[in-house]
């Protein structure tokens, strides 16, 4: 089968599902096609979305590929969607960042890093499926250990955990524009 046909098939299966599909998964489903051909089809679709007059793009997220609307059209789409977008409190974001970078880790470890009780936030992040219980740590008391989920990567548009900015990059970024990073706290803004 020629490249154009494979491209069409790959587009159709990426279109019909509600989750990102990994290259492995696509190759298993389209077993009669070579992995290289499928990879080329994905690249061609990605390229088409970027070069033609398109409102969507093919992004790499949570270890797979998924069509997503372009961020510049968010305003129009929000008019159509009734549900309000999920909002994250600074506490939730802090906790998520700590878990994302330090996983697997226990509640006590999270609380040491944050300096505050984090039980309620952990519960709410579990409810939202942004974090998961990975198991129990093999130390006295056998505390639960937490990690992030596929939904976390999907929500924050992350290809994989390795694509999180490194902590060194963050430090450099913070040094370059130190004080403006304080903005989220209303108290600080008012100075």
């Amino acid at each position: 089968m020629n490249a154009a046909a494979i491209k069409k098939i790959v587009e159709s299966i990426l279109f019909v599902v509600d989750t990102p599909l990994s290259l492995d998964r696509i190759c298993t489903i389209l077993e009669e096609f070579g992995r290289d051909d499928i990879r080329m089809a994905i690249d061609a679709i990605t390229n088409d979305c970027n070069c033609q007059e398109r409102g969507i793009e093919l992004v790499q997220v949570a270890g797979g590929y998924q069509f997503r609307s372009r961020p510049e059209f968010a305003d129009y789409i929000r008019r159509l969607k009734k549900a309000k977008p999920a909002r994250f409190t600074p506490s939730a974001l802090e906790t998520l960042a700590i878990i994302a970078y330090r996983q697997p880790l226990t509640r006590a470890e999270i609380e040491y890093l944050r300096g505050v009780d984090s039980g309620g936030i952990l519960k709410s992040l579990l409810d939202k499926k942004l974090i998961r219980i990975i198991g129990k740590k093999d130390i006295p008391g056998k505390p639960l250990i937490y990690g992030t989920t596929r939904e976390f990567m999907e929500t924050f548009n992350l290809k994989d955990l390795a694509s999180l900015p490194t902590l060194r990059e963050i430090e450099e970024l913070a040094e370059s524009d130190s004080d403006d990073e304080q903005a989220p706290l209303p108290l600080l803004e008012a100075e």
């Binding site: 977008p85 579990l126 409810d127 999180l164 913070a174």
Partner: protein, 263 residues
């Protein structure tokens, strides 16, 4: 200054929302970082006296405003005072060591502050990403063409948290008397029940002691004993003893059959 902002905000007495916002410092570390930045001091050389005083002033303001000062803020206050007094004490130096090899009493605090700042910055970057359902949208449903095909039975994807949370919800609405014993705390008893049943499978009878052979920790023995008692209660095993102080035998009372089907 935070103080002036607060009094200004609190002039609007009817605006409850501000009362929540005012304690927007996520915790003692955030407050300390703010004070360090505001005073433009070197984080590696924090002037403890000045910073502790400002920190305590802030807590006073919060208390005066009847804001609930979380326990963590108070713990940090005592840590700050402790560090401050440690620094006032003459350093007992070991002449054999270089001076800078004595750990600065502030060292752990500085490490925590730097760590905290890093993760807070990371969280700001996280929020600035193209968040799904806020900045970008995907098809969060399957198409009708896809749904039209019959579903195959494959193993579901569920998280362990969903399981325990489901159980919690059931218990919350379940009839009261079901709360007795076999609590989830005894979950290792469930393991032992499962193991004992497996062990008994295909055997006529086993010696009581054999059921405890796996380990000799107190916890294991207690769990095993409770498992045996529970199995007796459920009438899934029988315990036999033919003479006083004689051998105790455990017999499988479960009717095993390979072709057991649903009723």
């Amino acid at each position: 200054m935070p103080e002036s902002t607060q009094s200004q905000l609190f002039d609007e007495k009817d605006n409850i929302a501000y009362q929540v916002r005012i304690e927007a410092f996520e915790g003692p570390l955030a407050l300390l970082l703010h004070l360090i930045k505001k005073n433009e001091v070197d984080i590696y050389n924090i002037p403890m006296a000045a910073i502790s005083r400002q920190y305590l002033d802030y807590l006073d303001v919060m208390q005066e405003l009847n804001l609930d000062v979380a326990g963590e803020f108070l713990v940090m206050a005592s840590t700050l005072i402790q560090i401050k007094s440690q620094m006032l004490l003459p350093q007992i130096t070991d002449p054999a060591l270089d001076d800078d090899r004595i750990e600065d009493p502030r060292a752990e605090l500085v490490r925590r502050l730097l760590d905290y700042e890093r993760y807070r910055d990371a969280s700001i970057l996280l929020a600035a990403r193209d968040v799904l359902e806020r900045d970008v949208f995907a098809r969060n449903f399957v198409s009708a063409e896809f749904d039209a095909f019959p579903a195959e039975e494959t193993l579901p994807e569920i998280e362990i948290f969903e399981l325990v949370d489901a159980f919690r919800r059931i218990l919350a609405k379940a009839p009261r008397e079901s709360f007795h014993e076999v609590g989830s705390e005894n979950i290792s008893i469930a393991d032992r029940i499962s193991d004992i049943l497996e062990f008994l499978q295909g055997k006529e009878a086993v010696e009581f002691e054999e059921l405890f052979a796996g380990s000799n920790t107190r916890e294991y023995i207690v769990a095993s004993l409770l498992a045996v008692l529970e199995l007796c209660r459920l009438r899934m095993i029988r315990i036999l003893q033919f003479e006083t102080y004689g051998r105790i035998l455990v017999k499988n009372a479960v009717i095993q059959s390979a072709d057991t089907v649903m009723e």
